[in-house]
Amino acid sequence: MPRIIVEVMPKPEILDPQGKAIASALPHLGFTGFAGVRQGKRFELTVDGEITDEVLESARTAATEMLSNPVIEDVISVRVDDQDAA
């Protein structure tokens, strides 16, 4: 079934405790060279039928109203998945 991908990241100015903890763990595991990590979310919305403009618009609204918390997160992309469904 066709899919829409929604990507959400913590706002850059907001503290991201998870990213911070990962960033400080990486060098201990021998992964050096990374200056920082931020952790966000990736949603796959499976669409029942074709992905019309309407559906995409509805996904955009869902992304800002429900899949993200606008106070601390940004929706950075809402797009049709171009890869084959796994």
Partner: protein, 259 residues
Amino acid sequence: MSTETPLIGNFHAAPATTPLGGARIGVVTFPGTLDDRDAARAIRLGGGTAVPLWHGDESLQGVDAVVLPGGFSYGDYLRAGAIARFAPLMSRIIDAATASSGTRLPVLGICNGFQMLTESHLLPGSMVKNEHLKFLCKDQVLQVENTSTAWTSQFTPDELIAIPLKNQDGQYLADANTLEALEAEGRVVFRYVGENPNGSRNGIAGISNETGNVVGLMPHPEHAVEAGYGPDDATGMRNGTDGLTIFTSVIASLAGSAQ
């Protein structure tokens, strides 16, 4: 005399006074570990000696067994137990628990400790967020289904016990083959009784490895070791001490193997 409020990693454990007290059981503290003092208390009340171990150390200090206590190591950021399993001491524990010669180190992972054991593949499967997505704290009844592990030898087969459950990521998952193997080999050590509190597959609350020295469970036996501070039981409010048997079991089995 009064006990000091112990600092983490400094339990002021009472020295061994009982014959079994010679059993030295390590309690590992990671950044964000919460139940290390409780685990140390449980070991002491069970008759053993608790030895504080620090995640960043390289030595197991010759302990006879290890408890990976509950908490939110590294905030449970990324995945519960995911960052902690890379600690230097975890490598020592993995080696000692899977040693090909000699006795294998008994290891108990409670809650976050269980999550570390699955993250480090000492135990199969993994934990994901509770089905209802909330942190849930409650008195939980379990059935003890395997009494041949190092940590459960003093329970009677199929004994029902009540100990606290408290977690956010407690839903046990494994693929069908793994589940089948766990069931077939009797490696489901604890199973939830009554309503499944988090959606775990087959109602699994705790499992063991193939050799029975490594056991992990989500509920907290160390919170049910002292009357007055545990879950409710038939004798009254907060009187449940069923968790103590886990600690006396390992201490007894250590005493047995030492002879």
